[in-house]
Subunit: 349 residues, 2 copies
Amino acid sequence: MRATLIHGPRDIRLEDVDDPRIQQPTDAVVRVVAACVCGSDLWPYRGVRRLTAPRRMGHEFVGVVEQVGAEVATVRPGDFVIAPFVLSCGTCAHCRNGITTSCERGGAWGAPDRDGLLIDGGQGEYARVALADGTLVAVPGTPDSAMVRGLLTLSDVMGTGHHAAVSAHVRPGSTVAVVGDGAVGLCGVIAAKRLGAQRIVMFSRHVARQKLAMDFGATDIIDQRGADGVARLTELLGGIGADAVLECVGTKESMQQAIDSNRPGGYVGYVGVPAGGPELPIGQLFSNNINVAGGVAPVRTYLPDLLGEVLDGTIDPGRVFDLELPLSEVAEAYAAMDERRAIKSLIRP
Amino acid sequence: MRATLIHGPRDIRLEDVDDPRIQQPTDAVVRVVAACVCGSDLWPYRGVRRLTAPRRMGHEFVGVVEQVGAEVATVRPGDFVIAPFVLSCGTCAHCRNGITTSCERGGAWGAPDRDGLLIDGGQGEYARVALADGTLVAVPGTPDSAMVRGLLTLSDVMGTGHHAAVSAHVRPGSTVAVVGDGAVGLCGVIAAKRLGAQRIVMFSRHVARQKLAMDFGATDIIDQRGADGVARLTELLGGIGADAVLECVGTKESMQQAIDSNRPGGYVGYVGVPAGGPELPIGQLFSNNINVAGGVAPVRTYLPDLLGEVLDGTIDPGRVFDLELPLSEVAEAYAAMDERRAIKSLIRP
């Protein structure tokens, strides 16, 4: 089959690799229907994160189950499934606590499992899915092309935006600020709205993203950054920062913007993969009771609730995909996101 | 009157200073009945925090109102009152949000108010209290000597321990670890118990403090630190860290101990004044969804609830005072805490 590998900065290649097959009784093999490029894929693409060897790419996909191992009970061949961006067993203490990303037996797409056997990446034609029962979520019926986009967001960005909002303790009536106008930040707007936020302010300088944010439920846009942006926010919110700030980028600057945008006693919910190791300014946090919550989003835990709302049309996060390409053009899918020509690229094998 | 000043490391002096008087219509003058030395007073005492000039000391006291300004409505001469460790107006947006420590008009004991007029410290015979209505809490009747100890903890350590527990999201059934066996950590045990914690593990190497922690509701003591302490904790808790960790020290080492003791998805509630600027390890926090909440405790907000339980004997935090001295021996009150001969020193003018 064909699968995507990264060889170095801006060096994305589609290559012939071994077809996946069932190797553990808890495995499934899934034919990928749609995959996408993640903002975090851009860290190795841009050379921010160093590679020691070529690596299979893709950790967000949906597809159809082709085969299952002897012990798989919850999905069957023919099922349309969503694959969260981390594998998880569903039964260990951390999974039971809802933190599936800390699963004791879990694994990562494009990396070896605990027995050293490669788990395929999602940006390919097929994938071996380890821990299929804990990891995959089956969708009733066969979704159409538009619905596929919505379901695909549940493998990462919608669940991650939701984690930012949950971690930021968004409540009915909350004032919310969102730092990051990428797909996760935009899904954060959807999440904040469904959790009852009264005011949702998006920091964005990009007209198309501003518009989508407003469609998703943002009430205000601020196109300034730094101290000017914070001054505008506090002006909008009657003199104090936001109750809840969603940090959806992961740089030192974006984290500082988020902290500065939070009112004393508020929560910053952060989900941006820390790139370049932002240090948290403990003195500022302490003095102002700024609480910092979040991390790598346990989207598997949120998937059942959010799935229902995607299926019944209550939320439409699939609109974050503004570029759709065949797998053969996967390199362009990366380039378009890197150059901010696309919010998020969808790839169809 | 006589009041305590610090002139430099380990240089505590009792000096004659001006008697306080009403200077603003929102002032009260309080005769101090009991004051105490705070763990954070030890930072300048030890030279960890530099002084540029001699400074009045003490931010925890209880006493009797002598005089009030024309606009003071909630306390009257003769009232026995508790003074929280930060002054607050009670009416600004931050006070209404319960974060009285971020009060827009608030001030600090031993420092100038917004008009440049000194607010006395608490370790003296009398104190001018600015913003008396927002700051002071009156207690019904005249407490006896034992009750004074309990009430005095509400000016800081009991409310601060409670803030650690609230920030750490202690819930009925939570597993809790407490880092720091000083007065705040011990009060954190009381707070965790009253919030319904099922298991409360105290890190302590000090026999008298271990015993008091058990009396207050701790279920287990760990006398190891670092990786050994964390290993013992996870062994006690069935293989994972604590749901909630109370960080009640403020050093880089204690914060790391707290983070390492937290389970994925748990909360570290921290209230130790950061000394030496611990940086938070963002990569570890992110990967494990360790949430860090807390800061300078808004004890004024918690005071009414906790006051009732001290008055009716439900909780007895006054037991943290294991040394009681006249004001004339205030230097010894510091030395005993510095040398860990006392958990907490009470001073009677």
